[in-house]
């Protein structure tokens, strides 16, 4: 059994045809984790007992009849899963045991999925490298001296290494697609509100979007069907019915209009190899009948600024709950007031990046600065949203490279307090507008590191992304490549 080749779709068929049992499949994954994870360090927690219990249930015929039933994957460690330690890779909650399930977790459990463990991330999802985890740095399985991207780096590294067949990550601006791109995987960030945020340790409440990281578009479609839907526990989920993304997959792209924003192909800002591979991938789509249309979008540098202020402001609010009173790290220091107690707990519990982001957000929201920073950012965000909407009147999708470079070396983020936001420059306009995006592996650079291409659709048009992705993956083999470990 080659876990790096095996897709969710194939595993589902194999289990159905009793080619192997769910327990055997799960055992293979755990054996793989034992062999490989000491090099890759993708997992914070391996949940063998729970996984084997789910797998046994499948083998006893007691699991529901879904495509994900019996298939092992992992969860980024910010999804609450009752009874497991959920840390968001932060010391401040390193011993926090979830007292409830996130809706994402519950949907996977209800569908019979086998969850093998919780994966490493940038602490509180504040990053694009997984190097700012408070615990350890996950390595890129393509080259262990390089970073996997982030913040869902553990998830991506796990999938490409064969330590599970899928992982669920989250994205505010790149955190699904960035590590998927750097690890040669297919990652889907659904429309904001397509998948419930209930039980997700929050980063930016107007941005957080849980979504799948897989080896193929087909697998992403299968996972999206499990995850998508309205949730009464999350008032920001869409009341609209999600699509039958897998069943309705249609790879006919004849007449599809693809918008290429000139500024997203700037050779001064983006690596030459990255642009080259994306342009080659576009030719594949053109051969299938798609049409390229040059478009102009606002300079993405403004999206960086907007995202920085909006997201960090929301972070400052969302992380206010970590005070050590009801859960989390408690400082040993003697205190004389409640302020001192809370300040000490937070000062000694949070990592550097969390503190940096909280304070930037607090500053942007504070009296005297609110208008110039947060309010201004929310106004420009509206302009960005209108800019995207205007573009979608001319084209069906917008395509560009997913990241400005391929994977960077371990250590690359040091000394750069804006690393995350700059790395995500090519996806920020889309996420600020709530749009869904899909990253597809499209080749390798001269260092043999994967290149990703980003496809963005209007809100709630995940089916279009899946259709385009399936057309591309019918013609190419990039998604079938994996590193030897």
């Amino acid at each position: 059994m080659n876990l790096q080749e095996l897709t969710v779709e194939q595993a589902s068929h194999d289990l159905n045809n009793k080619k192997y049992s769910a327990v055997e499949l799960a055992e293979s994954v755990f054996s793989r984790i034992d062999t490989v994870d000491k090099k890759v360090e993708a997992f914070i927690l391996v949940t063998k007992k729970q996984a084997l219990a789910s797998a046994r249930k499948y083998d006893e015929g007691k699991a529901p009849d879904t495509m994900i039933a019996g298939v092992p994957g992992s969860l980024k460690d910010l999804f609450n899963w009752k009874g497991t330690v959920t840390t968001a890779s932060s010391n401040i909650i390193k011993n926090y045991v979830s007292p409830y399930n996130a809706t994402v977790t519950q949907r996977l459990i209800d569908a019979g999925a086998v969850i093998a463990g919780k994966t490493n991330m940038d602490a509180f999802a504040h990053g694009s490298s997984t190097e700012t985890s408070d615990f350890f740095t996950t390595k890129n399985p393509w080259n262990l001296g390089y970073l996997p991207g982030g913040s869902s780096g553990g998830s991506a590294a796990a999938v490409i290494s064969g330590m599970g067949l899928y992982s669920i990550g989250t994205e505010t601006a790149g955190s699904i697609r960035h590590p998927s791109s750097w690890c040669g995987l297919t990652g889907l960030k659904p429309t904001y509100g397509r998948v419930s945020r209930y039980g997700v340790i929050a980063m930016g409440s107007s941005l957080d979007s849980p979504g799948p990281i897989c080896k193929s578009v087909v697998d992403c479609a299968i996972l999206l069907e499990v995850l998508a839907g309205n949730d009464p526990k999350d008032a920001t989920t869409s009341p609209s019915k999600p699509g039958s993304y897998y069943k309705d997959m249609n790879s006919d792209v004849k007449g599809l209009k693809i918008g290429l924003p000139r500024r997203y192909f700037d050779e001064e800002q983006i690596e030459g190899d990255v642009i080259k591979k994306v342009r080659e991938a576009l030719v594949v789509l053109e051969k299938r009948g798609a049409q390229i249309v040059d478009i102009e979008l606002m300079d993405p540098k403004y999206a960086i600024a907007v995202y920085t202020f909006v997201c960090r402001s929301e972070v400052s609010s969302n992380l206010a709950r970590f005070d050590g009173i009801r859960y989390g790290h408690v400082s040993e220091k003697h205190v004389e007031s409640i302020d001192e107690l809370i300040s000490n707990n937070r000062g000694s519990g949070f990592g550097q990046e969390a503190k940096r982001r909280i304070m930037t957000g607090t500053y942007a929201l504070s009296s005297g600065y609110y208008d110039a920073y947060y309010k201004k950012a929310q106004q420009v965000r509206n302009l960005i949203k209108k800019d995207m909407e205007a573009a979608f009147k001319k084209v069906d999708v917008i395509i560009g490279p997913t990241t400005p470079s391929t994977a960077l070396k371990v250590g690359a983020t040091e000394g750069n307090p804006l690393f995350g936001e700059i790395s995500d420059v090519l996806v920020e306009a889309g996420t600020m507008s709530g749009c869904p995006g899909l990253t597809l592996p499209v080749g390798f650079d001269k260092k043999d590191l994967p290149v990703g291409m980003n496809v963005v659709a209007p809100q709630f048009d995940e089916q279009l992304l899946i259709n385009i992705g399936s057309a591309f993956q019918e013609e190419t083999d990039w998604h079938k490549k994996y590193p030897n470990l």
Binding site: P99, Y302, R346, M359, Y363, V380, N382, G434
Partner: protein
């Protein structure tokens, strides 16, 4: 328009840290003041964008007034709610003394 370089002073940073309820050492104050200055300066370009008469973005997918029935439902049990308390006493979260004895 000359671009003024914004620096976050130690005084500013101490104020922000106080608002954020994060206690910092003396050297941390300096280091974070520098970091925040870098961040703020990198994103000053927002001023280049004309926003006169532009509304702030409302809920990004157009949702309004999402309500539910005003009926009490299931919640966390007391046991689950106290699961991660560093200390508990008779079902209460227990913390260090923060009120001075008279």
């Amino acid at each position: 328009m000359a671009k003024k370089k914004q620096t976050i002073s130690r005084k500013d940073l101490k104020h922000i840290a106080r608002l954020s309820r994060i206690s910092l050492t003396v050297s941390e104050v300096d280091s974070y003041a520098k970091d925040l200055s870098v961040v703020i300066n990198s994103v000053e370009n927002l001023n280049e964008v004309e926003t006169k008469g532009v509304d702030v973005v409302s809920q990004i997918t157009g949702l309004k007034n999402v309500f539910r029935e005003d009926k009490p439902g299931k919640s966390l049990s007391m046991e689950d709610a106290l699961l991660n308390a560093s200390k508990q006493t008779n079902g209460y979260f227990t913390i260090k003394r923060v009120i001075k004895k008279k």
